[in-house]
């Protein structure tokens, strides 16, 4: 599957790595909800590192839709929370 790190580009990731990433991803969501800035930064860094380590980067000129999208490395907790709670985009 193709994962995009915002501001960096896309990587192709083997589905087998999803379980490992999923744990970090769930942790990140919990920290975002709880407003744990320190935890958020640490987990986001770990998640992005894992995606970079496990994935193969796609060329910049490829135009493939991403199945998963990750915030940019310097995204703040408030930015991410704002995106996730934008009622205009997420139905319900």
């Amino acid at each position: 599957m193709i994962v995009r790190i915002m501001g960096e580009g896309q990587v192709r990731l083997d589905d087998g790595h999803l379980a490992e990433l999923n744990e970090l991803d769930d942790e990140l969501l919990a920290e975002t909800r709880a407003g744990d800035e320190e935890g958020f930064r640490r987990t986001l860094g770990a998640l992005l590192d894992a995606v970079r380590r496990l994935g193969a980067p796609l060329p910049d000129d490829s135009l493939e839709p991403s199945e998963l999208i990750l915030p940019s490395p310097d995204a703040s907790l408030s930015e991410v929370r704002e995106l996730l709670t934008d009622d205009g985009l997420l139905p319900g």
């Binding site: 915002m6 960096e8 135009l63 915030p71 940019s72």
Partner: protein, 265 residues
């Protein structure tokens, strides 16, 4: 996947869906419609085959009946030759009954043949329509795929889709940082002006230098006053006093140059 990754993906997909309005893929609809037409064509063909089978069965029955009719005619002729008129009459009456059946079957055969021709023609027309539809469908699908690709590219450039969403955000971040830096520069200027921050550039005066400047400015005023007073008095003693005063000033200046630590370098 239930965390940030999926939810971020949903956000961008929601944006992309809004942009493309892909509630229904026309290519799938076209393929479905083509499939239905093929099924209809298949039914018509099966109908033609059924009618043709019935026609052939009728032909076989007709042949059989005609064979029996010929046989009865022969039997009648032989019976008559043997002088058995009663037998000949029986044979001919049976033949007459068969002949009626043959006539009925021939009518049915003609009707079936007419139906078969009509159905064959309908099947041929339908086949032509289905072929035309297939060509059109493929053209429409190709056009749609091209349009979709074009939309996606356009969408990417306008920053709607996730493909360029991050570029848009990167620009936004750069703008935010620039604004932040500008605001910070403005704030630093204000703090420097208020004296809350020290200026290490050496361009601004410190408080000691300001006080010295103020004092030396005051001395100049005093000296000027003395000079004016002396001019008004016009006396040589006054002139001497002035000279003495000047001397004092010179010694003051000398003293100043002896203490360079207060000088603004």
């Amino acid at each position: 996947m239930s965390g940030v990754m999926k939810r971020m993906g949903m956000i961008f997909r929601a944006k992309a869906n809004k942009a493309l309005d892909r509630a229904e893929d026309p290519r799938e609809t076209l393929d479905y419609s083509y499939q239905k037409q093929l099924e209809l064509l298949q039914k018509v063909r099966r109908g033609v085959a059924d009618v043709a089978t019935s026609r052939k069965r009728l032909e076989l029955q007709l042949n059989q009946l005609q064979g029996q009719s010929s046989k009865l005619e022969d039997q009648g002729r032989k019976a008559l030759a043997l002088g058995r008129e009663d037998l000949a009459r029986e044979a001919l009456s049976r033949r007459a009954a068969l002949q009626q059946q043959v006539t009925d079957l021939e009518t049915q055969h003609q009707t079936l043949q007419g139906e078969e021709e009509k159905l064959t023609l309908a099947a041929q027309r339908l086949q032509a329509k289905v072929d035309a539809f297939r060509t059109k469908k493929e053209t429409i699908k190709a056009t749609y795929t091209a349009a979709q690709a074009q939309t996606r590219i356009g969408e990417a450039f306008s920053g709607i889709s996730e493909e360029m969403g991050d570029v848009g955000m990167a620009i936004q971040r750069a703008e935010d940082k620039t604004a932040q830096l500008q605001a910070r520069a403005g704030a630093i200027d204000e703090l420097l002006a208020s004296g809350a921050l020290d200026d290490h550039s050496g361009l601004a005066k410190d408080d000691i230098q300001s006080e010295l400047d103020r004092l030396s400015g005051g001395t100049d005023v005093e000296l000027e006053l003395q000079r004016m007073k002396a001019e008004l008095a016009g006396g040589s003693s006054s002139q001497q006093a002035i000279e003495g005063g000047q001397g004092q000033t010179q010694s003051q200046q000398q003293s100043k140059s002896d203490t360079p630590r207060f000088d603004k370098q």
